[in-house]
């Protein structure tokens, strides 16, 4: 019943198209993250699910029920705003039982359900405090509780952690995830922070410029990006992407990266897939999947700088700084300078059609 289906969803604001034909199915009880940079259409999508915005085209179904024309108060949707939108002129209790009171539930039921929710979220001692001036984690729990007390089948969260400092975010992520396990609702979570999406979501929908780029589990999106945008966006740092041309060598098909040199030969399935397509390809590999190869016929670039961030070191290779990044564990022996010869692990190599940006996948 609480599965969500978006069919050919389009949203235009005047002449600007915020969302271009989106199709997405979210299963009952699933935690789906909408991930993308700001302005990618993720919040617009969520506002349409909530009923705050009317789709220009297409429709939204909850289960089999078409939601067009159903006002936002009747959709049975819980919504947690980016700034929590707590009613700061009321007490915690009045916030928590607001929905129950506004929908005219009997006083005894209101009291009972409010008390149960306060207990679940550890808010019982704060019930008669004014909501203004509470700490951020209390506000977040209150915002979730205020929606959850209505027992919505669907929960929508709009960047709920973006106002929180980095240290606290980790705590809140854990808390949110455990709350979702308790409530077992379908959750749609909008964020621009891939770490939140990767750690909490069952599946991630990556969006950019109003277009859905890829839908998949966090590992699918990380390991097999559907296109150059996803490859660059997911991972910190993102995938190394080097434009080049396919070149036939005596050891098999490789990519000529120009001044960087010739890549090691492509793995056989990838080579087979690449042979059918265009010669202009983008060669991609994860910074974590690089090994130093001082003797081999590997890629070579000057060392620009070394970033040491505790558990790992990031080498920046290239003339300008954004050419190639390579991540090594803290203990690894690293070159101090000069030209670095390196090679990506064969299994981590990904190819993209440079013109269309689409992944070339070996079967």
């Amino acid at each position: 019943m609480s599965a969500i289906r978006l069919e050919n969803l389009v949203k235009r604001f005047g002449g600007f198209t915020a969302l271009k034909t989106m199709d997405l199915s979210i299963a009952d009880g699933e935690f789906m993250a909408l991930l993308g940079p700001s302005g990618c259409g993720k919040s617009t999508t969520m506002n349409m699910i909530a009923g705050m915005e009317r789709p220009s085209e297409g429709r939204i179904l909850f289960g089999d029920r078409d939601m067009s024309g159903v006002p936002m108060g009747r959709r049975g949707v819980g919504f947690v705003f980016q700034n929590y939108a707590i009613f700061t002129h009321m007490t915690v209790r009045r916030n928590l039982d607001y929905g129950l009171r506004m929908t005219g539930r009997p006083a005894a039921e209101v009291a009972k359900r409010t008390a149960a929710m306060a207990d679940l979220l550890g808010l019982t001692d704060l019930l008669d405090r004014p909501a203004a001036g509470l700490s951020v984690n209390i506000l977040q729990r209150l915002a979730i509780g205020r929606s959850a007390v209505m027992e919505p089948a669907i929960f929508l969260l709009d960047e709920p952690l973006s106002n929180v400092d980095a240290a606290f975010r980790a705590v809140m992520r854990t808390e949110l995830k455990s709350l979702q396990r308790q409530f077992r609702q379908t959750m749609v979570y909008v964020t621009h922070d891939q770490l939140e999406a990767m750690t909490m979501a069952d599946r991630i929908a990556v969006m950019d410029h109003g277009v859905l780029q890829q839908v998949g589990t966090p590992l699918q999106v990380y390991n097999d990006p559907a296109n150059i945008f996803v490859a660059r966006f997911i991972g910190a740092p993102g995938m190394n992407l080097l434009p080049g041309r396919l070149a036939e060598t005596d050891r098999g098909l490789a990519v000529d990266l120009g001044p960087l040199g010739l890549t090691p030969p492509l793995p056989a399935p990838l080579a087979a897939a690449a042979r059918g397509g265009k010669a202009e390809v983008t060669y991609g590999f994860r910074p974590e999947e690089v090994h130093l190869d001082p003797e081999g016929a590997a890629l070579h670039l000057p060392l620009l700088l070394t970033e040491r961030i505790g558990a790992r070191n990031i080498l920046h290779l290239g003339e300008t700084g954004d050419a190639v990044r390579a991540v090594f564990p803290a203990g690894a022996t690293l070159p101090a300078g000069g030209t670095v010869r390196f090679a990506p692990a064969e299994a981590s190599v990904r190819l993209f059609d440079t013109a269309s940006g689409r992944a070339i996948r070996g079967v």
Binding site: M72, G73, V77, F81, A85, H89, Y98, G99, M102, S147
Partner: protein, 308 residues
């Protein structure tokens, strides 16, 4: 990270010797203090002095010699028995109690309409706040014309009645008060509208959306979110209008001159008349002080109540 995060705060200045600073501060503000004494405290003391005498400009001596007409507290005891004063006060209160709530409700309704965009909003907005810019005396003249027995108000009313309406608005004791109130409402609803619109725009949109998502009806949202969040601005708007309405004079004076008889005589009109016609300045001073004290007590009481 912003610049402020990176730039170390300048070391705190060693604090100057406190009594030294206080003395310097006193000397620097001395001219301003003398000015305040002269324009505020001096007239009050002068008023208090004259209010204890029977002095009038016709007395033949200048005001510092008013002690020659000393009458102790006779002016103040006269106030208690002055029926015309008390009915003027009551009438002023009536004007406040009718006009301010009507202006508030009209202003709030209009402001609610103007929160959302609609075609022609800017033009409608300009037209709406225009009455506020009209010189009150001119507004008085306009309403004087409108409410003539052969004037447009009667003409318009005649459209809805079988017989032509020939109400003598400004010479009927009750209707004159109605006409005066209508002028005040016309002129000052825009101010209410402006202040309340500023308040309405300041109500956070996502709180309204959150309330709607929780199932609150538009009226419930208005009652539980909009009004409580506008409380401060509503208090300010009402205070401004109550204070201003208490001083109602110019529009009214041109429309009725306080008449017929004393039917529209408010406190300002009464004081104006006894000042310029009866010339009993000692008594006028006593009334002015009495009202000042009464209003101050009322204001303190109102503020204490609101703070609760």
């Amino acid at each position: 990270m912003t610049m402020a995060d990176r730039i170390p705060a300048p070391a705190a200045q060693p604090r100057a010797d406190a009594p030294e600073t206080a003395r310097l501060g006193f000397r620097l503000t001395l001219p301003a203090q003398i000015l305040v004494l002269f324009i505020s405290v001096f007239p009050l003391l002068m008023q208090l002095y004259i209010s204890l005498t029977d002095w009038s400009p016709l007395a033949g001596v200048s005001w510092p010699h008013a002690w020659e007409y000393w009458n102790s507290f006779a002016n103040y005891t006269d106030i208690l028995g002055d029926g015309r004063l008390w009915s003027a006060l009551w009438r002023t209160a009536l004007v406040i109690m009718v006009c301010v709530p009507v202006e508030f409700l009209l202003g709030l309704a209009l402001a609610t309409l103007f929160v959302d965009d609609f075609p022609g909003k800017r033009v409608a907005y300009s037209v709406l706040i225009m009455p506020m810019m009209v010189v009150p005396a001119v507004a008085g003249y306009m309403f004087f014309m409108l409410f003539q027995s052969g004037g447009p108000v009667n003409d318009i009313l005649s459209w809805f009645t079988p017989e032509p309406v020939t109400l003598a608005w400004l010479s009927d004791p009750t209707l004159a008060l109605v006409a005066v109130m209508a002028a005040d409402i016309w002129q000052w609803t825009p101010l209410m509208f402006l202040i309340l619109l500023a308040g309405l725009v300041g109500v956070p949109d996502d709180q309204l959306k959150a309330a709607a998502l929780l199932g609150a009806s538009p009226w419930a949202r208005f009652r539980t979110i909009v009004i409580p969040r506008m409380k401060t601005i509503i208090v300010i708007a009402l205070s401004i209008r109550v204070i201003e309405a208490f001083k109602i004079f110019d529009t009214l004076y041109i429309m009725t001159g306080g008449g017929p008889g004393v039917a529209t005589e408010t406190i300002s009109v009464y004081i104006y008349k006894i000042t310029t016609q009866d010339l009993i300045w000692g008594y006028v001073a006593a009334i002015a002080l009495f009202i000042l004290i009464a209003l101050s007590v009322a204001a303190v009481w109102a503020m204490k109540r609101m703070a609760k």
